[in-house]
């Protein structure tokens, strides 16, 4: 294993200069979740129009893998039809499960995260933003996973 398998230039760039990292008041969908194991937090904002995902933004804090994955995700999915976004989510999950050879054409910068597969504990960091996006598209707000009274 070599560190540059995981900490690729493009990952560090998205970590240091996150794209679309902002509150989006006009969002039609919004979902927050944290990873209780490590405290990483992501809120995803989605502006949908009919069957299209116009724009996605995020807020959050966490490690370079979770935050860069969120940043790259917002670029990858904005402006795409819902159906394609769902396909991307499947493709990304497949890549992180190690059973899909990612197509650079589909995933763009996101293929840089492929190296994380070798660090099983960190896979959940990479997938966090995608879990939140999927939950948002399914109408979830993430509150059910938060401070649920027992």
């Amino acid at each position: 294993m070599a560190l540059d398998d995981i900490y690729k230039e493009v990952i560090l760039d998205h970590y240091k200069n996150p794209r679309n990292k902002r509150e989006m008041p006009e969002a039609t969908l919004r979902c927050s979740r944290n990873n209780p194991l490590c405290g990483d937090e992501i809120t995803v904002f989605v502006l949908t129009e009919g069957e299209k995902v116009q724009e996605v933004a995020f807020l959050g804090q966490g490690c370079s893998i979770s935050q860069s994955s969120a940043s790259m995700m917002t670029e990858a999915v904005s402006g795409r039809p819902l159906e394609e976004v769902h396909r991307l989510i499947r493709e990304f999950r497949g890549m992180m499960a190690g059973d899909v050879d990612p197509s650079e054409e589909e995933l763009g910068d996101l293929v840089a995260l492929r190296g994380v597969v070798k660090y099983p504990i960190r896979i959940k960091c990479a997938v966090l933003a995608w879990d939140v996006l999927q939950e948002a598209l399914e109408g979830g707000t993430g509150e059910a996973t938060g401070a649920r009274p027992h």
Binding site: L3, Y7, L12, G39, D40, C63
Partner: protein, 416 residues
């Protein structure tokens, strides 16, 4: 820096290391540097062999059979109890109930004592530095009894803020549950003082000894605590070994915990009567081999001498704190090694603890990154997680150096 290498003042570390088979292994092509003993300690050959020896030569259920093996197994199990009792200064082995560790011990008290004794409006006083295993069982007990939880807050430098203790600890307080040593800040709260103050208002005291007992000489008679929890796996023993110390009269008065075999005296159609203490709390087949091997871990620690164990850790912790601060790490917790243990939480520059742990792993260095089951501590200091290095008898100053040098790698990767 005038720090003795290899042989610290108090312990012959090179010789100790030779007893730990896992320390011979490598991570990739780097020697393992294990700095996560606060999560679980490594095990010396003597402990591994004691467990294997039990299975190879003496295995039978304890307190059951009338044949030789069963007698041997029972005697070994009870000998381990006597060792654990002596190790913590308990007056009588019957004051020690075997459990799987601190989590089970706290739950035992929360069921068998708290649910019987607490009434609506009674208060349980905790601290903001407790491990979740000394919070959540009390939340559940409070939910069932109507009791109220209160917390002793923390100061900016990682100590208990006792300035308002008088209004937190009152005649409404029935129990003070406090850690003997914080697993995320390293802090050693003033247990003797707290016990005195709690008893003065009629409250009992439970000390979470998960970190304290492995690292500091403990005498429950002198501490005068009412309950002390012990995690064997953090003190060179097997996983799921450990126990609960309680004053005998409390154990006598408490309700049963788990129902089942061996914890009973007589069973009728509609009720049962309980076995004597401590067996009243040991239902079903216990971790016999593990508790026997915990006895071997205690022999090992006693041969080193707990005063020496503590002295070695003060030395390593002092050195590590100094080096980490030199390179600009932010330390969470007290800076004086005399009032803290060897679990050091820190942030290095702006490198997220997860990223730091991954980078250190490439150097063979095992540290913990996360909230360490102390989310109230993380919230208090405004961080989602910390990196934590923690030491035990086998760690060296060279390993501290390796840690500090590896931080430079993180700096190189992240350009911070």
């Amino acid at each position: 820096m005038s720090v003795t290498r290899e042989r610290s003042g108090a312990l012959d570390v090179a010789r100790i290391r030779a007893d730990f088979p896992v320390l011979e292994r490598t991570v990739g092509d780097k020697p393992l540097v294990y700095l996560d003993s606060a999560a679980t300690s490594q095990k010396p050959r003597q402990v591994i062999e004691a467990e294997a020896d039990f299975y190879a030569h003496h295995n039978a259920n304890a307190h059951r059979g009338i044949y030789l093996l069963a007698e041997e197994a029972t005697a070994m199990y009870e000998e381990a109890r006597a060792k654990l009792a002596r190790f913590i200064g308990a007056p009588d082995p019957a004051c020690v109930v075997f459990t799987r560790g601190t989590t089970e011990s706290v739950n035992l008290v929360a069921y068998a004592w708290a649910r019987r004794e607490l009434r609506e409006g009674d208060e349980i006083l905790l601290t903001e530095m407790e491990h979740h295993s000394n919070i959540v069982p009390w939340q559940l007990a409070a939910r069932d009894t109507g009791a109220i939880l209160r917390y002793i807050p923390l100061t900016d430098d990682g100590l208990l803020d006792l300035s308002d203790l008088g209004s937190l600890l009152t005649e409404r307080t029935k129990l003070l549950a406090v850690t003997g040593m914080s697993n995320s800040l390293g802090t050693l709260p003033p247990i003797r003082e707290l016990t005195r103050a709690a008893h003065a208002v009629g409250a009992l005291v439970l000390v979470d000894g998960a970190q304290l007992v492995p690292h500091v000489p403990v005498d429950v008679t002198e501490l005068d605590c009412d309950f002390l929890t012990i995690s064997g796996h953090k003190m060179l023993g097997p996983t799921a070994s450990g126990g609960l110390y309680a004053k005998r009269e409390l154990l006598e008065r408490m309700d049963a915990f788990l129902g089942g075999g061996h914890m009973i005296d007589e069973v009728f159609h509609d009720h049962a009567t309980w076995n004597v203490v401590p067996y009243k709390f040991e239902a079903g087949t216990m971790n016999i081999a593990q508790e026997v091997a915990l006895g071997a871990a205690i022999d090992y620690l006693e041969a080193l001498g707990m005063d020496n164990v503590r002295a070695h850790e003060i030395e390593l912790t002092g050195y590590a704190l100094e080096r980490l601060r030199e390179v600009g790490a932010r330390i969470f917790g007290p800076l004086d090694p005399g009032i803290r243990g060897g679990a050091i939480s820190f942030w290095y520059k702006d490198v997220h603890p997860h990223d730091l742990a991954t980078i250190l792993n490439e150097e063979g260095i095992a540290i913990r990154a996360g909230h360490h089951c102390t989310q109230l501590v993380m919230r208090r200091y405004g961080v989602p997680a910390t990196a934590r290095a923690s030491f035990y008898v086998y760690n060296t100053v060279e390993e501290v150096d390796a840690l500090v040098e590896a931080l430079a790698k993180a700096e190189a990767v992240f350009g911070v």
